[in-house]
Amino acid sequence: MNDKSRILVVDDEQVIRNALHDWFAEDGYVVETACDAREALKKLDDALWDIVLLDIKMPGMDGLELQSHITEIQPQAVVIIMTAYASVDTAVQALKAGAYDYVQKPIDPEELEHLIEKASEHQKLLRENRQLKQRLENLSTEDMPEIVGESPGIRHVKDLIRTVAQTNATVLITGESGTGKELVARAIHRGSPRHHMPMVTAHCAGLPEGLVESELFGHEKGAFTGASYRRKGKFELADGGTIFFDEIADISPKTQIDLLRVLQEKTFTRLGGTQPVQTDFRVIAATNRNLSHAVDQGLFRQDLYYRLNVFTIDIPPLREHPEDILLMAQHFVEKYAREMNRQANHISQEAMAYLKTCLWPGNVRELENAIERAVVVQTGEEVQLSDLPLLQSKNIPSNDDLSLAEQEKHHIQSVLDLMDGNVTRTAKALSIDRVTLYNKIRKYGLKRSP
């Protein structure tokens, strides 16, 4: 009749236990009975139960006391209290203590059937909810699908995320621009007990000086011209969740003081308000600058630095873990092909070789942009070298004073080398015809064999 809910009947009267046992067994439920709290606790230790039918009056530990133990031992179990002496007080007491429902003995057969069906359905929903939450948690903390890479550097970052996520510690994420600091912050938030609440991002570099207080702390109606309604600030929006300060080094000295006060006291006042507002948030900050140097130079408050620098995660630049480039590139090809409904599913050997020679000063973001562009322009299943944009390569001297002609000369030479001097493939990769390529080779005196 249902997917076999497990029912535990706890009652000191044997006739009641037997009657309910037979009644539920006929309906196909898995049912066991216990004559008192002690036996019930033993059965609760031995197995998981979906529904516990509990007599309120029992010798020794009564039903209400046992109920509180059940809530601790098996919070998933739905408890239904039974009593022969119904009173509003005991009903309220039972429901307040977390009982699912309350019935008076003797019970109408139809009412009992509906009650158990309803409780089974409720239990099933709770179970599904738990499973979905678990899947979400596993997805965020175990797999971290958005953080791609198997190099020791990236593995270390993932380990640190797992270590700190479950705590409430403030985290400072450092790394060059484009290394994925916000992704790391999101992975920490999703792996934390706060993941059901929002992660609110404050882009410090983008906060206009005049509006920074209003943005962070909110404002009351009439606090300033144009403040026609009360508005919550980022600290309030992050209540119960996480607030992420991106580019924390860019906040003004005044905002540093305000921020320090909020971090210390966890309370603040809305702009134009008088009542202190208390919120519960976790702080994650990120910067591409060396905050310690900024402190030495007097650009960043030392006390705030110490407040933020509780647990640091340093993300290595892409050039320090080149072994991840191909894995990341493949990941981005699949991601953008899916998003753009393209057929691309892999990268050609030449394109791979080229990606490995690039310097990636813009780190993962640059790689992602390059692949996104390639997926836009390519037509088949394979991303070709010619689909990729011109990137700063190790084979090209990165000297800004070099002329366009010099850049062209070095680039053509590097592509020729990549293609083992094959003019047809090089011309195709450069998106020029073979005659033009021959002319360039002659003009710059390029070598066709590496």
Binding site: N18, W23, E26, D27, P106, I107, P109, L112
Partner: protein, 184 residues
């Protein structure tokens, strides 16, 4: 070969018992033996509730059970209860050879409606087969047309028929019975 005994607990017209016996024989494929003895249900009367304790009456029936191939069905017109529930139409335990059925709440008269003997008898046949089904190990069935579907109200009984669904019938066939399968 299964042997089924029909016993009366208190006054139940013999004609009623015979009609129920015919219905059981037709749908379950077992010929019942109607006992001339009438058991006294009064020892199971509960003064506080003004009803008869079904479990105690069921225990009385167990004395009539002799061999593993026998089943005993008690028929009564008294109102039955078990302590946890306000009433029961009947009682049987899974794989236990004895079952009990009360006609009291099957009659429309009990609910203040005009008497309808045919409807009462039809309900009695359906519930007798249902309780006997439990003695052969059948659980409540999710098919609302199957006689083994649970009925908590008298009206529920009218929704199902006296026949078995294919799955419940297979279970009984495995015990060498010839049940009728309900029409779809």
């Amino acid at each position: 070969m299964v042997c089924l005994h029909l016993l009366r607990l208190g006054a139940v017209p013999i004609k009623t018992v015979q009609i129920i016996a015919e219905g059981v024989e037709f749908y379950l494929g077992v010929t019942p033996i109607i006992h001339p003895d009438i058991l006294d249900p009064d020892r199971a009367f509960d003064l506080d509730r003004g009803q008869y304790h079904a479990t105690r009456l069921l225990e009385n029936l167990e004395a009539f059970h002799q061999s593993p191939h026998e089943r005993v069905l008690g028929l009564t017109e008294v109102d039955l209860f078990i302590p946890i529930l306000t009433f029961v139409f009947g009682e049987a335990r899974l794989n236990n050879p004895c079952a009990l059925l009360s006609l009291r709440r099957l009659s429309p008269q009990f609910y203040g409606l005009p008497n309808n003997p045919n409807q009462t008898l039809h309900r009695a046949i359906v519930e007798a087969i249902h309780e006997l089904g439990h003695t052969f190990g059948l659980l409540h069935c999710s098919d609302y047309r199957c006689v083994m579907h649970a009925s908590r109200l008298a009206d529920d009984i009218d929704l199902k028929g006296p026949g078995f669904c294919a799955e419940c019938a297979r279970h009984l066939q495995s015990q060498k019975l010839s049940p009728r399968i309900t029409a779809k």
